[in-house]
Every structure is written in structure tokens, then in C-alpha cells.
Amino acid sequence: MPEVTYLEALRQGLQEEMRRDERVFILGEDVGTYGGAFKVTEGFVEEFGAGRIIDTPIAEAAIVGAAAGAAHMGLRPVAEMQFIDFISCAYDMLTNYVATARYRAGLPTPMVVRGPCGGYVRGGPFHSQNPEAAFLHTPGLKIVCPATARDAKGLIKAAIRDDDPVLYFEHKYLYRRIKENLPEGEEIVTPIGKARLAREGKDLSIITWSAMVWKALEAAEKMEKEDGVSVEVLDLRTLLPMDDEAILATVKKTNKVMIAHEDTRTGGVAGEITARINESAFEWLDGPIFRVTAADVPLPYAPTLEDYVLPQTDDILKVARKLAAY
């Protein structure tokens, strides 16, 4: 089994879907000849031609709008945001147009908008964002955030096959740091809307996704070794629609829950998860639901400040210990 990176897995997913279904095409800034800012689509233009790998102007609203039109006409576009931060430029298209198309006009919009999110790479405020909370509030969209190479591949394939618009947030910190053995020839499709138990535990649960999964796992290891506390880590993978069943299962199992996300705190997804647990599993809680998140500030450039603002393993550990002792 060849070892592949998170980025390579995503690339394989795109490639396999393009080979499987000729309605699938990619459009975005520098995705063609340049092969993408992170080389996700390197070599694609050679294999699939400029008709299916389309370089666009620097105009995110236009990219998403064009993709939506193509989707309505029966194609399956994958629109790349060079950095997911700039998805805000297409906010109007996504929320007003794409998300509502099925409701307004009965038009399925099978399209994917994907792009690199997240910090820990000294990217500063324009190249480090996690915009999931901005779209979680929009009915009609789906949001996926893979943490593993397997899911990077499995979720892009599922997103492309889905008949609704899917936002696919890939974490750039994981691109080349996560390596996994993925069997060649195995069809990996990760179902959208299903969380993954990244680590089994019995004393407390950390609900998280994307790069924070790895930090949560690190903290869990430490807790097990140093405190003898057994920590469960639930990787949500899909934020919309949220896997309530998996969340409730872990709440009922450990009775102590914390949520870790890289995005800023106020109005973050953790608040929504907390509310759901509160509504459906209040009687199962043996402690308050704690959050570990970034501080409520634009992400600084300075390495020391970025480290301070973004949630680190030690931050998770600290809160986990507090929760365990509660």
C-alpha cells in the first residue's frame, strides 16, 4: 500500500472522479498550467485538457456563479478558491443563489467549492481562515472538513457525487504533514453527514474536526498516559448536515464533552453543537460543555502571536483536565 499525503489523496479523489465521470470539471485561479497554488491539480490540464481544467480570472463570485450555471445545465463543477478566505467574495452567490436554487426553482446544483483553509502556517489574516461558521447558517449547503488522507479522498469523491452544493474545506497545514496508506484501487467514498470515531474513550469526549483532530488526539494520548483519563475523540468530518447521532452517542457514553475548533470563538460552530447537546442530551451531562477555540481576533502574522491565538494541544489538555476533574 503506497503512503500518500492528505494533498495527494485529495488529488487522487479529484482525478478518479474526473476519469469516472466526464461531466466533472475544475475551474479556479491558476488551476491549469500552474497546477494550483498548492499543486493539487498539477498535471491535470495535461490529462484532462483545458476544457475541463479551466483557469479563471481572480473573481470568486464569477467562479462560483459560473459553476452554478454549469451545474444547473447538468455538469458537475469543482470550483477552487485559491485560499478559502476569499470564499467571502462569493458569499452572495453561495448563500443567495446556490443554496436557494433547489427551493426557489427546483434546480439541483451539484457543485463543489473547495479550497485550503486553516492556520498554523504563518499565513496571517488573509490566508488562514476557517469560514465554516459563516456558511453553517445557510440551509441548502453542505460543509465537509476532512482531517485524514482517507477522508480527504473519500469526501471529495462524495462531494462531487452529491446532487447538492458542497463546501469542501481542506486544511493546508495537513496537506503534506498527514500521510496514510491508502490501498490502490480501493474505491474510497466517505459518506457525507457521518462522523468518525477517531479515538475511543470512556471518561470524556472531544468533538472536533479538521486539523484540530490531530491536536485532540495528541492531548488524548497525554491524558491517558499522564492522568489515566480515557478520552474519546469524535471527528465530525461533515459539519452540515451534522451527525447528531454520533454526537449524542459520545455524550451518552462519556457524559463529559468539550468541543475544539480552530475557528474563532464567538458564533463558532461549537456554539451550535453545544445547543444541540443541551436540547437533546441535557440529562446525560456530567459537566459543562467546554470550548477550545481561537481567540476572537484576526489571525496575526507574528509566529508567537499566531501560536498564542490559535488553539494548541496544551490548550486542549488544560480544558480536558478541568473537565475531567469537574
Binding site: 457524559n255 441535557f282 440529562e283 446525560w284 451531562l285 456530567d286 459537566g287 476533574a325 469537574y326
Partner: protein
């Protein structure tokens, strides 16, 4: 300035929590080191607690009347740097009872240990006293010693945590019919966690309809209280206040006594024997030696003779100086005689340790010292523990005699009736009989028929009577 935490001290190994009965200082008051700043009342004793450091009482975190786990921070003292307190040492352990610094040594004992401790020695049945001058105002007013929470905003977040359980714990409690307040908590600020409540239920705590007993003495219940708690929940017998009635919550000591007495009745097979004892000889000895004892700072009471007679005869009758543990009998190596003392606010049973090794002088001195300190709330925790036999003296109030309830886990208790002159038939030296006035008293002994048979009890009782009626003058 340094801030020193004042904590609820652990007043003995088996004590998990204490009630802050009274603040002797207000916020803003200057306090000297070792100056008494608050009063507490625990399962075992009441005591005044001294300041761990000099400074200003900056914050009161636990209001009067509140029961908190040991080690809870109850107040903060701000010290001046010049006092020499290190700012890096925020948590100073308060010396335990004002009188009992020896209790400090055990204050570090683990909570687990505390949970395994046996039922606390509470008090026997009737309002009795070791001294004829004991105040006997056992009115409900005693409850005022434990004022209701004032709601003056001094409750801290930690208090709330302890008081408020999480939804899960409440759910489990409801499913198993257990009282959360009666479970020792290991969580933050002593909160009862899921683990605590599940462990409690697993340990075989009273699971069937939990009696609405007090939060008092939770540990003892889990450790020693058997299954099948009494059903106090029959609505037909439940009291409810009528118009014009006054309702006051029971004081802690009252709750403990109530719980202990009912438990004892349920546990032991109570049988009571009564003996009439002629103590005219003792009366003479007492009159003769009273002065002598006074000169040595002791008060020679009838009760002193009785304690001495009991102590001297228990060694010969070990079954009366015993305890029951499951299907075993523990024969106590020591003879430690508890004396019930009536206080304004309830009953307490200080223990004369190794009473058989004391002379009559030693017995009366120890007994009166303990009684005095009980009234002054200066008893050390170990002075109310490890009794092996108890004596209660309702006679001081004029009672002819009563049938006391055994002080668990002991197997016998002696009651003393009123001492007065009564007519008695006496054989004169010339062989004729006459009715003469004699100094008489009634003694009663309740014993646990599970292990003490009537013959055992009466043999012991007979020996005590014999010694009292012909008390050796040399022993006075």
C-alpha cells in the same frame, strides 16, 4: 499583600464536611494569627477555628449555616507583606480545633479513608447529663445555632457547584432513589460526579425508597448503614405544619442523633434489665471524701463511682465491652466509657479512654474535664470516638429510670436513675427486720441480645451492683 486561604479543617479522619455555624469576625476585621475567626460543627464536634495568619479578613466565601466539604476555602485573609507571609503559599492549613492541634496530624488523610470509617458515635436516647447542673433547655431553639443561609450573596461559585448537581447525576439519583447530598463527592469543590454516584450505588447504599434523611453523615451511611432503610415516607404518618405552628430545620447534631437512634433501634435487639442499688455506702464515702477531692480540683459525684464500678467490672465480662461486625464479635481490648452530656444544642458523648486504668480521682477529673469542654465546644475529635460502653444519666432530671438506646456500634449502655432516699427492708443486727430510709437509685442496662444474653448481662450487672453497694473505701 498576600492572600491566605482559610479552609474548612478536617476535624478527624472520618469527617468529610463541616457546617460553618458562626462567623466570629466580619469582612474587613483585622485578625491576629490564631485568633478564633469562625465556629464549625461537624459530625463529631463543634469547635472554634483560629486564623492561619494575621491580616484583614478580606472575603467570606461560606455563609453561616452552610455545610461544606473539608478543605473548602471558607475565607480569605489578606496579609501585609511585612507579616512575612509568602505570596507563593496561598493555602495555609488552619490548625484544627482550637483545643486540639493533634487533630491536624490526621487532617491529610485521604477522603477514601474517610468514606470507610464507621458510623460516628452520636448520642444515646434520652436528654441526659453527666452533671446535675447541666442546662436542660433542649428546646427547638437549639436550632438557632445553625442559622439558615442568609442569602446575602456570600455564596461562591464553588458552593453552588457543590450544591448543584449535573443533570446526569440528578437523573441517576432519581432512577436509583438516592439522595445526592448524601454522597461524598470527588469532583471540583466536592461535586458529586457520575463516578461518585455510580460507585455509591454499587457499594450497596440504600437503594429502595431512600428515607428523607438529612445530608448529615453521608459517609457513615454508605459504609455502615444496611439495606432496608425505614420507610419514613408513608404519607399517612408524615407531619405537616398547621396554622400557628413554627417550623425550624433540625440542627446538624439533631439530625445525626435522629438518624443514629433510629439506626440503632433497627440494628440491635434491645433488651433492658433494671437493678435497684443501695448506694448508702457510697453516700458515706462521698460525704467523707468530698472535701479531699475538692482540694485536688475534682468533684466527687455519684456518677464517678458508677463509672468506676462499670470500668472495673467490664474486664471480667468482655462480651459487654464488645461490638458486632457482620457475623463476628469484636471484643474490645480497651475499656473506653462514653458519658452522655446534654448540651443546649443537643447531645454529645465524650469518651473516658482506658477508664479501667484510672483511679476514682482520675475518673472524675477526666469526666468533668470532658463535660466542661463539651459545653465550651473545645472537644478534640478523638475524644468523642472509640467508646466501648456508654453511660447515660437521666436521673439528674428526676427520672426514676429509663431504658436507653444503645450507642452503636457498642452492645450495651447503662442508664442511671434519680438518686434519693427510699424506704427499704433491712435485716438488723439482732435478726429483726425494719423499714429504714436508704440512699437508693435505679440502674438500667440495655444490651444487644444478638450477642449478649440475659445471663451475661445480669452477671455483669450483678457485679457492678455488688461493687456499688460495698464500694472499697481504699479505692476512694
Amino acid at each position: 499583600m498576600a492572600r491566605i486561604d482559610v479552609i474548612m479543617p478536617q476535624m478527624g479522619e472520618s469527617i468529610a464536611e463541616g457546617t460553618l455555624s458562626k462567623w466570629l469576625k466580619k469582612v474587613g476585621d483585622a485578625v491576629k494569627r490564631d485568633e478564633m475567626i469562625f465556629e464549625i460543627s461537624t459530625d463529631k464536634v463543634d469547635a472554634e477555628i483560629p486564623a492561619p495568619s494575621a491580616g484583614i479578613l478580606a472575603e467570606i466565601k461560606v455563609p453561616e449555616g452552610k455545610t461544606v466539604p473539608v478543605q473548602t476555602v471558607v475565607a480569605v485573609i489578606e496579609t501585609e507583606a511585612s507579616v512575612g507571609a509568602s505570596p507563593a503559599a496561598p493555602r495555609a492549613t488552619v490548625p484544627a480545633a482550637s483545643a486540639g492541634s493533634s487533630a491536624v496530624a490526621s487532617s491529610a488523610s485521604s477522603p477514601a479513608k474517610a468514606a470507610a470509617a464507621p458510623a460516628p458515635a452520636a448520642a444515646p436516647s434520652a436528654p441526659v447529663s453527666a452533671s446535675p447542673r447541666a442546662p436542660q433547655t433542649l428546646t427547638p431553639a437549639a436550632a438557632t445555632l445553625r442559622p439558615a443561609p442568609t442569602g446575602n450573596g456570600t455564596e461562591t461559585a464553588d458552593d453552588r457547584l457543590r450544591r448543584l448537581s449535573t443533570p446526569l447525576v440528578r437523573k441517576i439519583a432519581a432512577e436509583h432513589n438516592v439522595e445526592i447530598a448524601g454522597i461524598p463527592g470527588s469532583g471540583h469543590a466536592g461535586r458529586v460526579t457520575k463516578k461518585d454516584i455510580l460507585g455509591f450505588i454499587e457499594s450497596g447504599a440504600p437503594s429502595s425508597p431512600a428515607p428523607p434523611v438529612s445530608p448529615a453523615s453521608p459517609v457513615s451511611r454508605s459504609a455502615a448503614w444496611p439495606e432496608g432503610a425505614p420507610s419514613a415516607s408513608n404519607p399517612a404518618w408524615e407531619a405537616s405544619p398547621w396554622e400557628g405552628d413554627r417550623v425550624e430545620p433540625m440542627s446538624r447534631i439533631r439530625q445525626l442523633t435522629a438518624e443514629h437512634m433510629v439506626f440503632s433501634r433497627r440494628t440491635s435487639a434491645h433488651v433492658t434489665s433494671y437493678y435497684e442499688v443501695d448506694i448508702s455506702a457510697i453516700q458515706k464515702l462521698r460525704e467523707k471524701n468530698k472535701k479531699l477531692y475538692e482540694e485536688r480540683g475534682a468533684k466527687l459525684t455519684y456518677l464517678g463511682f458508677i463509672v468506676k464500678a462499670v470500668a472495673d467490672n467490664l474486664r471480667k465480662h468482655p462480651i459487654v465491652n464488645a461490638a458486632v461486625q457482620g457475623t463476628s464479635i469484636i471484643y474490645r481490648g480497651q475499656i473506653n466509657i462514653g458519658i452522655a452530656v446534654a448540651l443546649d444544642w443537643g447531645l454529645i458523648v465524650p469518651v473516658i479512654k482506658k477508664a479501667d486504668e484510672l483511679s476514682l480521682l482520675g475518673v472524675v477529673k477526666t469526666m468533668h474535664d470532658l463535660a466542661d469542654r463539651a459545653r465550651a465546644k473545645k472537644l478534640k475529635p478523638d475524644e468523642v470516638q472509640q467508646g466501648t460502653f456508654t453511660i447515660t444519666n437521666p436521673g439528674v432530671f428526676g427520672s426514676y429510670i429509663g431504658a436507653p438506646i444503645i450507642n452503636q456500634p457498642q452492645v450495651a449502655i447503662l442508664g442511671v436513675g434519680a438518686i434519693e432516699k427510699r424506704p427499704r427492708v433491712v435485716t438488723m443486727e439482732d435478726g429483726t427486720e425494719a423499714i429504714v430510709p436508704r440512699m437508693m437509685t435505679m440502674l438500667s442496662m440495655t444490651y444487644d441480645h444478638r450477642v449478649v444474653d440475659g445471663a451475661d448481662a445480669d452477671r455483669f450487672f450483678g457485679d457492678v451492683k455488688k461493687m456499688l453497694e460495698s464500694f472499697p473505701a481504699a479505692a476512694v
